[in-house]
């Protein structure tokens, strides 16, 4: 199956945002995250799973009929699936695309695991992590200064 035929499996959008090159299996998780944001509640979203990809073998794909994607959502996506491509579509053509890199700092998205950390015990404190070793996904809590594996930290429930 050619790449063009792949694209036809879910309809092309006239304008909107496509999140491409999602490693297969993460599409549903990203969709879940995106749909938790209230501003996305009326958005038309298409999800494609297990497309063939030269780069990834298999990939997932999400199409959003929106003009704008909140940077907080992009930050959120970048934590769960760094390396995905976000494409801005206008009149059926790609206007702009960026490969989402893991952020240098992560604000108010992750829970600190340390029960003694002030960001855990005082709910009004927004959590704040700094990536200390991008290669190994090590992050440091700005408050208690503990180092964690990014993957071991739970995402905060998005309101």
């Amino acid at each position: 199956m050619s790449a063009d035929k792949n694209v036809m499996l879910i309809p092309k959008i006239e304008s909107g945002i496509v999140i491409d090159h999602i490693p297969a299996g993460l599409g549903v998780r990203l969709l879940d995250i995106i749909s938790h944001y209230t501003e996305m509640s009326d958005t038309i979203i298409s999800l494609g799973l297990n497309y063939r990809s030269q780069r990834l073998g298999r990939k997932d794909l999400i199409k959003l009929q929106v003009d704008y994607l909140d940077p907080e959502i992009i930050q959120h996506i970048s934590i769960v699936a760094p390396g995905v491509t976000v494409k801005v579509i206008k009149e059926f053509a790609v206007q702009n695309k960026v490969v989402v890199q893991p952020p240098r700092e992560i604000r108010n998205l992750l829970h600190c695991k340390n029960p003694k950390c002030i960001s855990t015990s005082e709910p009004s404190v927004e959590t704040h992590f700094i990536i200390v070793e991008p290669a190994t996904n090590k992050v440091k809590c700005v408050y208690c200064e503990r180092i964690f594996d990014l993957n071991e930290l739970k995402l905060k429930q998005v309101l």
Binding site: N114, K116, C117, I118, S119, S121, E122, S124, V125, C141, V142, Y143, C144, E145, R146, I147
Partner: protein
């Protein structure tokens, strides 16, 4: 812009040296002159958990700079015990003082407080995270005792896993080009690998051992810490090791002539009292240096005239 002292990790080598230089300068000043450094200034001393040494040392430092102190030494007697949030406490106290010195069991509390107030905040210990004024006074003590910090051989003994004092001092010494460390600890209390991490492979040598005798003849500073029974998952393990980390005068017979024994205090039994009278004992002068270093810190963060 206000300047806080929250974590040793925030300080560069040059910034650490500024504190050391200022402490040296203040120590050289006659006492009546020191009283003119911070007259009329008020330090809020917020101790949300008990501390004797750090709190008294800060209060003494402020009084001897001509300033005054308000605060509490136990949160039981404050609105905090009525359920007041940290944020409300800080926003209230900032109207009463010029600088906040705080200790709190919650890790990251000092950084949070610093975000909430326009006053400089000095971290006097936040749980098992940071205690930067202890590290600065340790560095000052080492420099005074040995005449240098760079290139010394350092030994740490005891609880290297949980001691924030040890963690923080090791990281600071690495900035000073101290490259050789003896880490003496029982298996259960070894230094976590993260603290040895650095981007210059081969530059630093960490000799890990369970035997204090291996470190004594080699080191310039023997930094003792208390081994807490409750840290051991298995009490049999504790019983096995507890006496091997008690330093006595006879154990120091193989030490270098100018070795100094330091300890953040309070000690329980890890240094027997017969060491107190030897030339090696550096832990009581260390507490005196604590007042001087805290005077330097308060002066710097309040812009005192020196």
């Amino acid at each position: 812009m206000k300047k806080d002292l929250i974590s040793m990790d925030d300080l560069t080598l040059d910034e650490i040296k500024i504190y050391l230089n200022l402490a040296r300068k203040i120590e050289a000043m006659p006492l009546p002159e020191r009283l003119k450094i911070l007259p009329g200034r008020i330090m809020a001393s917020l101790f949300f958990e008990p501390s004797t040494r750090t709190r008294l040392s800060f209060e003494s430092a402020m009084h001897r700079l001509g300033g005054s102190v308000i605060g509490f030494a136990d949160q039981g007697a404050t609105s905090v015990s009525k359920g007041e949030t940290l944020s409300d406490t800080i926003r209230t106290v900032e109207n009463y003082a010029d600088i906040i010195v705080m200790r709190h069991p919650g890790e990251g509390t000092a950084r949070r407080a610093a975000e909430l107030t326009g006053l400089p905040v000095i971290n006097a210990g936040d749980g098992s995270n940071q205690h930067p004024t202890q590290t600065l006074l340790d560095l000052y003590t080492i420099e005074k005792d040995l005449g240098r910090i760079e290139g010394i051989t350092m030994a740490f003994v005891g609880d290297l896993k949980y001691s924030r004092t040890v963690h923080s001092l090791i990281r600071a010494l690495m900035k000073f080009n101290v490259t050789e460390f003896y880490l003496v600890a029982p298996e259960a209390l070894r230094l976590p690998g993260y603290f040895m991490m650095n981007d210059q492979p081969g530059r630093f040598q960490f000799h890990e051992t369970e035997f204090i005798d291996e470190a004594i003849p080699k080191c310039d500073i023997l930094y003792m810490t208390r081994i807490q029974k409750e840290r051991f998952p298995d009490l049999l393990e504790y019983e096995k090791v507890k006496d091997s980390y008690v330093l006595s005068q006879t154990m120091l017979s193989s030490a270098k002539a100018d070795l100094r024994v330091l300890h953040p205090l309070p000690r329980v039994n890890e240094i027997s009292t017969d060491v107190d009278q030897t030339r090696f004992a550096g832990y009581f002068p260390q507490t005196r240096n604590g007042v001087i270093m805290r005077q330097a810190i308060l002066s710097m963060h309040l812009g005192g005239r020196i």
